[in-house]
């Protein structure tokens, strides 16, 4: 089955994103595929490369990237949600004349059209929200 996920809750305030990661790992192990993982709402703040995770905690963002390396996941961060919260790639930083970019490498900023595309091309769309 082809899945897409919407991840909506804040990574620091909720377990949702971790649940999404574990769901993705297990579904992949069972032979399912993922069209897209779409990060929306407060969850996008965790894609800042300025984030520091304390040593005794696990950085879920890094775990997504590790999983994506092995399995070619499409990790898309909603551009409107991101720029509103100060998460910028090089292009957005330049466009808005900001002094730096901070989107973690491995994620890409794109619009809600990518979510519409995921809805069209997936058998199931699952939201991990509040």
């Amino acid at each position: 089955m082809i899945f897409s996920l919407i991840i909506y809750a804040s990574q620091t305030a909720s377990q949702s994103e971790q649940s999404a990661l574990r769901f993705t790992r297990n579904a992949l192990q069972q032979g399912h595929t993922f069209h897209r993982i779409f990060f929306y709402g407060d969850t996008v703040t965790s894609m800042s490369n300025l984030k520091i995770t304390s040593r005794d905690e696990i950085d879920i963002t890094d775990q997504w990237l590790e999983l994506a390396k092995e399995t070619d996941l499409d990790l898309v961060v909603c551009i409107a949600a991101a720029v509103k919260r100060g998460i910028l790639d090089q292009q957005e930083s330049k466009r808005h004349q900001k002094s730096a970019a901070n989107l973690k490498e491995g994620f890409c900023l794109s619009g809600l059209g990518q979510l519409a595309d995921a809805i069209i091309h997936s058998d199931r769309v699952i939201t991990f929200g509040n």
Binding site: Y8, L112, L115, I119, T127, G129
Partner: protein
């Protein structure tokens, strides 16, 4: 050839309480631009989002009713409320900014079941 899927967006929050209201509406607009048929369901306190004469400027917040009023231009005209939820706030359909269909509460499960994709932020 891609089969056309029906999308239902469920609103659950009162106005001005959560960015989910705005985020859900943005999904509606984007998906409609991709020719996905979109329906909106306002549950519980979310019916207050549809109340006429909101004065968002008093809260220094963005007025979402302008976006809601523009939905028809995006061919989104399938909006649903539950009668009991309106009654809880002594509202009738005339008090709402959108022309909504009303659903009986016991039909809710089968109504939701008819959609291919349901998003409930």
């Amino acid at each position: 050839m891609v089969t056309q899927k029906k999308l239902l967006l469920i609103f659950r929050n009162p106005p001005f309480s959560s960015s989910a209201n705005r985020d859900n509406l943005d999904i509606a607009l984007a998906c409609s631009a991709f020719d996905i048929p979109v329906s909106l369901l306002f549950l519980n306190d979310a019916v207050l989002q549809l109340h006429k004469n909101q004065q968002s400027h008093l809260l220094e917040q963005k007025d979402l009713t302008k976006t809601l009023n523009a939905l028809e231009m995006y061919d989104i005209d399938q909006c649903y409320v539950i009668d009991e939820h309106l009654a809880r706030y002594q509202l009738s359909k005339d008090d709402l900014i959108l022309n909504c269909h009303s659903l009986a509460r016991e039909k809710l499960a089968s109504f939701i079941h008819d959609f291919d994709v349901v998003i409930n932020l």
